[in-house]
Amino acid sequence: MTNENEFTGADILLKALKDQEVDTIFGYPGGAVLPIYDAIFGQNFLKHVLVRQEAGAVHAAEGYARSSGKVGVLLVTSGPGVTNVVTGLTDALMDSIPIVCISGQVPSHLIGTDAFQECDTTGITRPCTKHNYLVKDVSKLSETIHEAFKIASSGRPGPVLIDIPKDVQFAKSKYISKKDISFREHRIKAGSKNVDKIFVEELVNHIKKSERPIFYVGGGCLNSGHQASQELIKLVNKTNIPITTTLHGLGCFPGEDKSSLGMLGMHGNYEANLAMNKCDLMINIGARFDDRVTGRLDAFSPDSIKFHIDIDQSSINKNVKVNFHTNTDITLTLKEINSFIESNNINFDDKDYSNWWGQINEWRKKECLHYEQGDEVIKPQHAISRLYELTKQKDTFVTTEVGQHQMWAAQYYKFSKPNRWITSGGLGTMGFGMPAAVGAQMANPDSLVIDIAGEASFLMNIQEIATAVQYKLPIKIFILNNEYMGMVRQWQELLHGSRYSESYVDALPDFKKLAESFNAVGVRAKNISELDDTINEMISIDRPVIADIWVDKKENCFPMIPSGAAHHEMLLSKYDKENPENQEKGKVLV
């Protein structure tokens, strides 16, 4: 008997995606998802982007999510399809990116029999998702999908996976729409909606009392939404307190503003790290005291009172003990801080922190990002600076791979808006940037999307250039080609006696020809005189472009706080020598 109110599992999935206002899905077909592909065939609200390897789908979904603020969605088959996305799921978990991954599974009655392309998907992905499901009953499917989207995007966002056996994709049931589902609150973990008034009052009082305050802002600010940035800018302008951001916080506050000390951490600015070390009041907004930021813990900002705003309870007191904390959403809390200051007519005019700024300006005089550009070989720092100057007037999104180029991009490209900077921070996944650019370009078809890449990282997901070509996505891959796994080479130089074991990237392809073979465009700059023209040419072409920028092969990324060292033990240039005792200790760290 057929009932017209009943739909197959595959149709329910599509209905639910439509209900969730999903219009783009990244995927790759296979036996266990054929019913879903069949349902995709007969509709037109959902644009399917066929990637070339599932890893590309998950990073594209991440790029899509980061650049749009929406949930990124992907679809993969069972077995190898889903094991190929494990890295990306872990990446999204570490960097709090909301994505939903739909995977096919062998039919229910074959589960546990080592069937063809069977794997324990929920088992494998349990530690690398915020939550996952195996849906064995089609009547639970609608509810599960809606809950998955809610969980992915609520509280601290993250990846959620739904594994659907093939028979469930065929089986029929009623569809339950999003508005008819009542979520069980304990499962959503959205964080508190009540602003902690005492926290706000304490914070304002401490700001007034402090001599050397600093804002330390992380990716949580980004995830709280654009309004969080607006409130942050307001608060910084009102109080004149210096602000430093983590790698993921870049863009939450305009990078060229006078109050910005830039990025902190292992390759952060001298002034930012020293200010963190010497401050008496630290206001952490959505950052997690990551080891790349704190350096040696026992020497991390020893004399400060610490406030921490983070929606994730487990981020509080995990690595660093704080004096005050709140788990309420950042936007709500910052709003309350601003309105508390306004309604109580609190004035910071007498409190210009002039001694503190005087000290910071002394540190700034070190010009920690200074480099010498000669008149032949392109310095990688210079390549990024020029890229910034030549693109800053445009509506630009930047993704990166992982390595020195990523850190140079963070240091020399300035962001003035949130969600414009898309990089793999927590996991440090080489091969992230190009598929992420595909996703960002899908979400922002009229913007300029650039993947700042290293040649080694680019090779890890190079197949996705075909995806960009197929969907006419004019992404730009800007390779700082140093023929080395530069960051590995740098650590070997600094910590392993310059024994460059396996870090030379031999047998590189000709990237220009490679672009052409994919029907993309290749351009190249071999020396400084060709740099600006190459960048301008790259921008002007309305197709995917690979720009092969030959840069100084031996350049190192400074400043650097070696692993195991403290903030004030930063190396500023190749002439700085590391404390040998730290070097031995640091070697064992990552």
């Binding site: 929920t122 088992g123 349990r126 530690p127 915020k130 939550h131 996952n132 195996l134 969980i151 304990h186 499962r187 973990k189 994730d312 309870q313 487990s314 509080i316 007191n317 995990k318 003990k321």
Partner: protein, 178 residues
């Protein structure tokens, strides 16, 4: 006033590992135990004992009791991490409740050879008010309950009797706050 040491005394940097009993209420759904156990093994926490059973059939809830070792900071982190798991309703450290009760059940099978051993066993069983489940000629099975510490002591006492063979099973502690 105490005299100053001729050599400086090193500050004791050993972290204080404490035993804690955590009580976790969860939705009874597939994979929940794997999620919890995975959280412990993945983050390097210890599980000393573990107990899981459905406690509310209608609402489909289970209570999981976990005995763990760790310094206070680690225990708070474990609780925060547990509370992030989607099916978890609440995670409580029983030690932080003003009043809580703890019990563990243990079944002990003791094989003995002579009258003297039998007498000693009977004596300890009496002191600890353990219940006889079964007694045959050369073997007795007791049920003893109470805090884990109480059971440990009973077992230690049994140990003082030479020449007997002991086999046992323990439920791990369970606890409830009031």
């Amino acid at each position: 006033m105490s005299s100053t040491s001729v050599y400086p005394t090193p500050i004791n940097t050993f972290k204080q590992s404490k035993r804690s009993v955590l009580s976790v209420i969860v939705d009874n759904e597939p994979g929940i135990l794997a999620r919890i156990v995975g959280l412990f093994s993945g983050r390097g926490y210890n599980i000393e004992a573990l107990n899981v059973t459905v406690v509310d059939v209608k609402k489909n809830l289970s209570r999981i009791t976990i005995e763990t070792l760790g310094e206070e900071k680690v225990i708070s982190q474990i609780i925060a991490q547990l509370e992030k798991l989607v099916p978890v309703h609440s995670a409580t450290n029983l030690a932080y409740l003003s009043e809580s009760y703890e019990a563990e059940i243990c079944l002990v099978k003791i094989e003995f050879e002579n009258e003297e051993q039998d007498q000693k066993i009977l004596n300890f069983a009496d002191i600890y008010r353990s219940r006889t489940v079964q007694k045959r000629q050369n073997v007795v099975v007791y049920e003893i309950s109470g805090t884990s510490e109480r059971i440990n002591k009973f077992l230690d006492d049994l140990d003082t009797i030479g020449g007997i063979k002991v086999e046992l099973v323990r439920s791990g502690p369970i606890g409830l706050g009031i």
